[in-house]
Amino acid sequence: MAATDNCLTANDWICGEYLRTRSQELVDATLQHIGITAVSVLLGLLIAFPLALIARHRRGAAGPILGLTTVLYTVPSLAMFALLTPVFGVSPAVVITGLVLYALTILVRNVLAGLQAVPAEVREAARGMGYGPARLLFEVELPLALPAVVAGLRIATVSTVAMTTIGSVVGYGGLGNLIASGMEGYFKAEVLTASVLCVLLALVADVLLMGLQRLLTPWTRTGKKRTRVGAARRAVRTVRAGAE
C-alpha cells in the first residue's frame, strides 16, 4: 500500500496511482473539454459560412468582416473571457463565445479562400448545365472548396483545444481546470497528466479531421494514385529507353 501511494506523497510528475484514483475526474474534465471545443468550432463554422458567402458576394462587406474578425483575434484570450463574463455571467457561454470569436477569423478566411479558388470555368459549366445558385453552391463549389475549409477547421480545432484551458478562469476550462487546481496545490501529476491529455486531444482531433477530408474528397486521392502510376510508367519507360 505504502509503495503504491508513494508517487502521490512524493509528488512525482508521473503517477499511476493518480490515474487510478482520479480517473472519474479526468474523464469528466476531458468530456467537458471535448464538449466546449466541439460546440465552439461547430458554432464558429455555422457563423463563418454565411459570413464568407456575404464577403464573397459583396465586395464592400469583405473588408469590414475580415477586419473585424482579425481585430478580435488580437485580443488576448484571458482578456476576452474576462470581457465576456459580465455579459454572460460565470457560465460555459463565456468560454464558448470567446472561442467562437477566435475560430471565426481562421474559418472565414479559409472558407472564403476555398470558394474563391473554384475555377470560373467549372462554375460556368455547372451554370450551363442548368444548376441554380443553391445547387451550384452545395453540389459544385462547396465540395471543391472542402480541402481549404477542412484546413481551416483543423487549425481552428487544434488551437481551440489549446485555448479551452484558459476557460479555467471561469471554471469551465475542461482539462484547464485540472491544470489550474494542480497549480494551486502544487500537484505535479495532475498538471502533467492534464497537459498531456490536452495535447493528445488536439492531435487526435487533427487526425480525425484529416480522415474526414479524405472520406469527403475521394477524387483528390484517385488523382494522386493516377499520377503515381503515371510516374512509375514514365520511370519504366525511361529505364527501357536507357537500356536500348
Binding site: 482579425t70 488580437t74 485580443v75 488576448p76 484570450s77 484571458l78 482578456a79 476576452m80 474576462a82 470581457l83 463574463t85 459580465p86 477566435y102 481562421i106 478566411r109 479562400a113 476555398g114 479558388a117 473554384v118 475555377p119 470560373a120 470555368e121 467549372v122 471543391l144 472542402l146 480541402p147 481549404a148 477542412v150 484546413a151 483543423r154 487549425i155 487544434v158 488551437s159 483545444v161 489549446a162 485555448m163 484551458t165 484558459i166 479555467s168 478562469v169 471561469v170 484547464g176 491544470i179 489550474a180 494542480g182 497549480m183 505535479k188 498538471v191 502533467l192 497537459s195 490536452c198 495535447v199 488536439a202 492531435l203 487533427d206 484529416m210 477530408q213 479524405r214 474528397t217 483528390t220
Partner: protein, 264 residues
C-alpha cells in the same frame, strides 16, 4: 452600475494606478517581459531561419516546428515550467514559455520569406559577383522583408497576449489585474484589466503595422512590381491557372497572409 461604468470608475481611480499592484507597475512588468521575450526569440529564430533560408534547406523543420507548437497549450507549459525546479527562479518560467511560443511564427515566416525571395534575383546577384553576406544583406533580406516583418508582428502580438497568461501561473504583468479581480469577485476590476490588455494588444499590433510600412526597404518598388504582376496575371486567361485543390498539409496558399496561431 453596469460593468462598463464600473470599469471606467475603476480605471479613473488614481489609487488603482499606483503602487506595487497598480496599473503602471503591471504595465511596466508586461512591457518589460514582452520586450525581453521578443528580443530573445528574434535572437534565436532569425539567425536560424535566415541561415536555413540562405541554404535553401530545412523547410520541413521550420513548418513542423510551428505545427507542433499549435497543439500545445501555452497555459499548460507555463504551469509545468512553474512547477519544475525552474519555478523558483522568478520570471524565468514565463520567459522560457513565451520564447518557446514566439520562436515558431518567427522561424516559419522568416524561412518562408527567404524561400519565396525571387530566386532569379538571387541568381542574378550571385552572377554579379556578390559574396554570401552581401547577397544576404542586400538582396535576400530586403526581398524577404514583408514575411520577416509578418513573423515579428505575429510573435510580438502573441507574446503580449501570452504575457497576460503569466498571471495564471503566478507571474507578473497586466493579467494580474484580471486574475486579482476574479479572485475578489470584483467585476469592475476584471473588465478594467481586460480592457487595458485588449487595448495594449491592439495598440502593439497597430504600431507594428505602421512601423512595418514605414521601414519597408523597397516600399515604392515592391508596389510597382505587384501592380505589374497583377496586370500580367489578368492578361493570362483563367485557363492558364489549372485547378489544384490545396493538399491537406498545406494550410495557406498565400503565406503572406499567415496569421499568428493562438494557443494562449
Amino acid at each position: 452600475m453596469g460593468p462598463v461604468a464600473g470599469a471606467w470608475q475603476w480605471l479613473t481611480t488614481g489609487a488603482n494606478w499606483a503602487g506595487e499592484k497598480g496599473v503602471w507597475h503591471r504595465l511596466g512588468e508586461h512591457l518589460w517581459l514582452s520586450g525581453l521575450c521578443l528580443v530573445l526569440s528574434c535572437l534565436i529564430a532569425l539567425p536560424v531561419a535566415l541561415w536555413l533560408g540562405h541554404l535553401g534547406k530545412g523547410g520541413a523543420l521550420a513548418v513542423n516546428v510551428s505545427n507542433i507548437g499549435r497543439a500545445v497549450p501555452t497555459y499548460a507549459v507555463l504551469v509545468l515550467l512553474t512547477l519544475s525546479p525552474l519555478g523558483t527562479a522568478g520570471d524565468w518560467p514565463t520567459v522560457i514559455a513565451l520564447v518557446l511560443f514566439a520562436v515558431p511564427p518567427l522561424l516559419t515566416n522568416a524561412y518562408l520569406g527567404m524561400h519565396e525571395a525571387d530566386r532569379d534575383a538571387v541568381e542574378a546577384a550571385r552572377g554579379m559577383g556578390m559574396s554570401g553576406p552581401q547577397l544576404l544583406l542586400r538582396v535576400e533580406i530586403p526581398l524577404a522583408y514583408p514575411l520577416l516583418m509578418t513573423g515579428i508582428r505575429s510573435a510580438a502580438v502573441q507574446v503580449v497576449a501570452t504575457a497576460t497568461l503569466a498571471a495564471l501561473a503566478g507571474g507578473g504583468g497586466l493579467g494580474r489585474i484580471i486574475t486579482a479581480g476574479f479572485g475578489n469577485y470584483n467585476t469592475a476590476q476584471v473588465v478594467a484589466g481586460a480592457l487595458l490588455v485588449a487595448v495594449l494588444a491592439l495598440l502593439v499590433e497597430g504600431l507594428l503595422v505602421l512601423a512595418d510600412r514605414a521601414f519597408d526597404p523597397m516600399r515604392g518598388r515592391r508596389r510597382a512590381g505587384r501592380t505589374a504582376r497583377r496586370a500580367g496575371n489578368a492578361a493570362l486567361s483563367p485557363a492558364h491557372k489549372p485547378f489544384a485543390p490545396a493538399s491537406p498539409g498545406v494550410i495557406r496558399s498565400d503565406p503572406t497572409s499567415s496569421e499568428p496561431i493562438r494557443t494562449d
